[in-house]
Amino acid sequence: MPDDVLVLAEKLSKVYGDVVPTPALTDVSFSLGCNEFASIIGRSGSGKSTLLNLIGLLDTPTSGRLLLNDRDTAGLDRDGRAKLRNTFVGFVFQFHHLLPEFSVIENVCMPAIIRGERQSAELLDRARDTLDTLALTDVADKNANEISGGQKQRVAIARALMNRPQLVLADEPTGNLDTENTDLVYELFRKVNREWGTGFLIVTHDRAIAQQTDRIIELSDGRLVQDVADPGADLPAESRGA
């Protein structure tokens, strides 16, 4: 276990529904250190996205404990959770979720503006730097609807990185992209992980992609069944992905 722990999950469980309780996650415990580049794999319905949503404070666990940066999230109210989402986590979803009413650079600036920063020249410079890193310099002033699918997903990544979060949570980030763009996105994740020290937790059903990460956390029927560091050296023989 790494010395600096970003995420500490202790017996996390999530049950949906009151009339017919449906467990989505059962007693999942693990920790994620700073600068880790890890993935969560599992079949559809195995609880991958549920776990990611709990860690990203988009959802609340039915039981168990979740600490982010040594801070217990149980006592946080809705505003406290929103603030931590804004500063600690960057999200990248399968669908880019850009705001069509705003330009590319405005979308990228949004997390910083939500945090309370003014739209100053300094902020715009930082946004342009981030866009440069993701090879999006030319589309900065275009409307979010006027760029290609691959570019949109990279803009979503730039937006996730804008507040320089300690942790990026990515849920099937390349699910809608072609091979070329998929490779590009993972190269960018790696680059940011190495250069900025940002931790990554990537949900994927693609074992080949998971093998590119430093650690694979595997879920099945809502339970953690395998947690493999350096997966390249010790791969499960059977491919369970789609």
């Binding site: 929103a82 669908f95 979720h97 939500i114």
Partner: protein, 380 residues
Amino acid sequence: MLSFRIAVRFLRTSPGQSVLIIAGIAVGIAVQIFVGTLITSLQANLLDTTIGNASHVTLQNADDKKPLLYTPAIRRVLASDTRVKLIVPDRVLSVIFSKGTDSAPINVVGAAPSDINAIYKMKRHLVSGRLVSAAGDVILGKSFAAKYQLKPGDPVLVVLPGGEQQKLTLVGIFDVGTSAVNDRIGFTTPDFPRRALGMAASEYSDIQTQLTDPFRSQAVIRSWEGLEVFKGVQFKDWQVENAQLLVGLQSQGSSSYMIQAFVLIAVALGIASTLAISAVQKTRQIGILKAMGLTDRRAGLVFLWEAAVLGGCGTLLGLVFGVGLLQLFALGPLTFPIVLDPAFVAGSCAIGVAVALLSAIIPSRGTSRLDPIEVIQGAG
């Protein structure tokens, strides 16, 4: 001001929807200002025509057949009452006007020329000639003078109640806009009717008073009735004399309020439904913003700002439409002046914005409660 920026951007990306709702608010506020001002102006004019040139509280002897003694004590009480703005003691003499074979009954009111001018605004209403100044002078209404082909300088022969004939001189012709006065009343100095009626110097037919607030006439009468100085005096209240008019005015006012209220309800429903649609249309965006850390309060403010911008623009446009419409209407053949009350206009504008804000409460609360996970899972 992030919520404001998002609100404005949402509105700008749906220009058709925004323009329609602004137009809806504008029409509502314009109707509110137009109808409200028109009815208020009409009522003010009716009131002014009815009681502007008339007594609000009239003092008479309790015995109708006897003159009223205008004692120094009554004079002091009336003069010291700040609610009273005008006191006109007068004498009314019923005579028969006679010209050739024509004759007509006429009441000649004798009062100080300055008092006649004060209560009837006679200088303003004089259409030819001058006001009375000497004993034997008389002024008559325009319609009466026209009917009997009289002009200033002509002699006016009248037959007194005792049958004695008296010659007066017509010095002026007036038009107060009320046929009851124009057709049947002449004004002269106090001495002519006093001599004809055989009254003492301190005796009058009645004392007309005008109040600073005519609608307080009942309270004024109540406060006077118990005073010793008014023993044997009866009071006539304009509100009792014009009860039907007051009922008419109140009904008119109620109709006006109903129209305005229903227009505002229609506007409110229009804004609320549009904002509700907008809130549904923007659910995904709000969910994403919340996933990025936008708090519930700031998310809720987005639709309040939308409502404020729509309400503000619509109200401003409605103000221009409403005032413009009134100006246009005033160019037509109106029989009364349109008076724009700044307080009413400001109130209408405030109501417009307030209604818009109230209409945003439901979509705003819905947005505030929205859980980002609903949007994230829904999109997956």
